[in-house]
């Protein structure tokens, strides 16, 4: 197994070049405040990136120093040790040893430790210091330590470790000037001093812990009193009765906000995009180019931007839940239920959000540290009935299912059908989760270990930066793929040109594909018109409603009586039921595909997912058509 002996020698051979860019790595255990410090140092001058071939994400930022100099800071994943067993640890290890291809070996390290939990966090100091890089040991949450009656002789700790030590509160900003001083020194080429205490064998945790304890004793470390407010709040939030009640309230609040609360904002954004598109179109001459710009690019980009309010609201919520410490408690409460499906507590909030939209849900799986659990959650999230499926469901149900009361006036046949579709998606999700977790994504049940951080007030600064960061990631990374696909779909629906004009959709490439594919989709009870709709709905599921409206020459909305009648005449009940089932299971959403590619750092998982969902949708739609056709 790789430890860092080999790379220690490489430091000495490094040529002292002054003009190249300097990189400093931030290393620390989870919950030590790494990201807060990183945000404090870089502000908005940061970007998120993935190392090639790994799902681990790192953030790179520029820090402005005096005299116009600047230095790059890289925020590495939170780790307890450098033994490269998990992907997070491997990435951290490789970056620090300089074996990561994308990144030169850092010039220095900021080792950030939670000062309120120092005896345990000091364990990480042993392997990091043995790298021989100039290191600043940052004792974070120094304000908490002082308030709760803890103490440490930081000068003595610096002596013992042979590295400068800074008492810092990254959240409040106190002591951060010492970090800037250290960074300034780094650009001048400071060298590391060997530590005074002999470092322990870094692979042996009990020895490392004993070493940390001895360092703690020598530096008069007084552990702080237990966090009083955390104990009080846990007595409420983890109370056998009040706990689940609070949990339910939080869940309802999240669901309402992203499902209902985001609606008006999303509608406003949509209207703004449409009217600006029309205005923009009126400036261009009536041509295929205008159609490409307005119908292809503008509405393609619009179909992405329209998700933004939902994403921002969800991440505001998740930000508050995570930064305050409640998310860990929510995961604890949800764990038993999720464990039945082979998942874990942290999958709950992302899957709940998937009922609004799979895109923010998949982005929200970042809170799941276990990679296999995270991938499993990403793979099942699109089965949850998202709001884009609703217009399709409502149209088909209204066209084919007569309204009859089942349980009084409030629950009729149509509501039952809609509920049935929600249940169908949910069942597909949990059965897929079971399948994945018992085969390719198996984890041991005892791998669930959840640290409960003390409760803290979330800061506006950190919430704001998180929102800006998520928006950037979504718009830039997912946006480029979605834009490309939107243009392709426009080309399919509007070419070849006939006499310089775009043809009616049945004569377009999509129409030809729809006709050609008719033999493939006929067993499902679909005709070529539905075939065209399946192609255009890749842009977003609800687009099929508008497309069918165009083809039948009717108003393209769910409530359109003309469209409902046209469908009734053109589609068998079996075909209609099959269409509902197809939409329940198929991954008809390029935004989801793009975001899965981004979050899993490659095309492998989105390809597997798309194939699996399409095959499942096809098979179940086929069966549905057959079974329903027997009775109707």
């Amino acid at each position: 197994m790789g430890d860092c002996h080999g790379c220690a020698a490489a430091t000495i051979a490094r040529p002292p070049v002054q003009s190249r860019r300097h990189i400093v790595a931030i290393v620390g255990p989870p919950n030590s405040g790494k990201s807060t410090l990183f945000n404090r140092l870089t502000g908005l001058r940061q970007k998120v990136a993935n190392f090639p071939g790994v799902t681990v994400e790192h953030r790179m930022g520029r820090v402005k120093l005096e005299a116009g100099r600047e230095i790059y800071v890289v925020d590495l994943p939170g780790v307890y040790s450098l033994s490269p067993r998990t992907e997070d640890e491997r990435v951290t290890h490789d970056v620090l040893c300089g074996t990561m291809k994308e990144l030169p070996r850092p010039d220095a390290v900021l080792l950030i430790l939670d000062s309120t939990n120092l005896s345990r966090h000091l364990i990480l100091a042993a392997p990091v210091l043995s790298l021989g890089l100039p290191t600043l040991v940052i004792l974070n949450m120094a304000d908490d330590l002082e308030r709760r009656g803890g103490d440490i002789d930081s000068a003595e700790l610096a002596m013992q470790l042979g590295s400068p030590v800074a008492l810092v509160s990254a959240a409040k900003g106190s002591g951060v000037d010492k970090v800037f001083q250290f960074l300034s020194g780094t650009t001048l080429g400071a060298a590391a001093k060997p530590p005074l205490t002999e470092l322990p064998v870094i692979q042996d945790i009990p020895k490392c812990r004993a070493w940390a304890a001895s360092v703690g004793t020598k530096t008069n470390y007084q552990a702080p009193a237990p966090p009083l407010w955390t104990r009080r709040l846990d007595a409420l939030f983890l109370h056998p009765i009040a706990g689940p009640a609070v949990f339910l309230l939080v869940v309802i609040a999240v669901f309402q906000t992203i499902f209902k609360g985001a609606r008006p904002i999303m509608d406003a954004v949509q209207t703004a995009i449409q009217s600006s598109g029309l205005w923009f179109g009126s400036m261009l001459p009536d041509s295929a180019l205008r159609s490409l710009v307005v119908d292809g690019i503008w509405s393609g980009v619009g179909s992405v931007v329209v998700f933004l309010p939902q994403i921002l609201l969800l991440f505001l919520f998740i930000g508050i839940l995570e930064d305050s410490g409640y998310l860990a408690r929510a995961a604890l409460i949800a764990d038993r239920t999720m464990a039945r499906f082979g998942l874990q507590g942290k999958s709950f909030i992302p899957l709940l959000s998937a009922y609004a939209c799979a895109v923010p849900a998949i982005m929200a799986t970042r809170t799941i540290e276990n990679k296999r659990d995270r991938i499993a959650t990403i793979l099942i999230a699109p089965f949850m009935t998202c709001s884009a499926r609703l217009p399709v469901y409502i149209l088909i149900i209204a066209a084919f299912i007569p309204e009859k009361p089942l349980l009084g006036v409030f629950f009729g046949t149509r509501a039952a059908a809609l509920l049935g579709l929600y249940v169908l998606g949910f069942l597909a999700a949990i059965l897929t989760a079971r399948l994945l977790k018992s085969t390719v994504l198996r984890t041991s049940r005892s791998s669930f270990m959840l640290e409960m951080p003390p409760y803290r007030w979330p800061t506006v600064r950190s919430l704001g930066l998180r929102l800006v960061d998520r928006s950037r990631v979504f718009l830039r990374r997912a946006g480029t793929v979605i834009l490309a696909v939107a243009v392709v779909i426009w080309v399919l629906a509007h070419l070849p040109l006939s006499g310089g004009k775009t043809p009616p959709i049945e004569h377009s490439l999509a129409g030809m594909i729809g006709h050609t594919a008719e033999s493939a989709i006929a067993p499902l009870g679909f005709n070529w018109k539905i075939g065209i709709g399946l192609i255009t709905s890749l842009a977003a599921r609800e687009v099929i409603v508008g497309t069918l409206g165009t083809i039948y020459g009717m108003e393209g909305t769910s409530q359109s009586v003309g469209l409902q009648q046209a469908l009734r005449q053109d589609l068998t009940p079996g075909g209609a039921a099959a269409l509902l089932v197809f939409f329940a299971f198929a991954m008809q959403c390029m935004s989801t595909i793009a975001v899965v590619r981004r979050e899993t750092a490659g095309w492998r998982w989105p390809a597997v997912q798309f194939a699996y969902m399409t095959v499942l949708a096809y098979a179940c739609a086929f069966l549905t058509n057959r079974v329903v056709s027997i009775w109707f």
Binding site: R120, R209, P240, R336, S446, F448, M452
Partner: protein, 90 residues
């Protein structure tokens, strides 16, 4: 400490006096003797503070008592019941 005891992959007869984490009553503390878990899981637990010789105290739990939060080495960590069963006390 019985270090030789740890080396055996599975002791056929369990020490009848050996208790595990799930047997601790509310407010009662215990000292960890060993971790009967695969290498990877026990390493992660040790990094979180579940080391032989450390004091553990059970705390709140999810409804139904599983998973439960344990206080150990200055932190609070939630474990599922099947994990807690494998942490043997002195």
């Amino acid at each position: 400490m019985q270090t030789s005891f740890k080396k055996k992959p599975k002791a056929p007869k369990r020490n009848p006096g050996a208790r595990n984490l799930t047997e601790l009553k509310h407010g009662e503390s215990g000292i960890i003797e060993r971790l009967d878990l695969p290498e990877e899981d026990s390493r992660r637990l040790m990094e979180l503070g579940f080391l032989p010789g450390h004091v553990v105290t059970p705390g709140h739990s999810a409804p139904g008592g599983d998973p439960r939060v344990f206080r150990v080495d200055g932190s609070e960590v939630a474990l599922r019941r099947e994990t807690a069963l494998k942490l043997i006390l002195r």
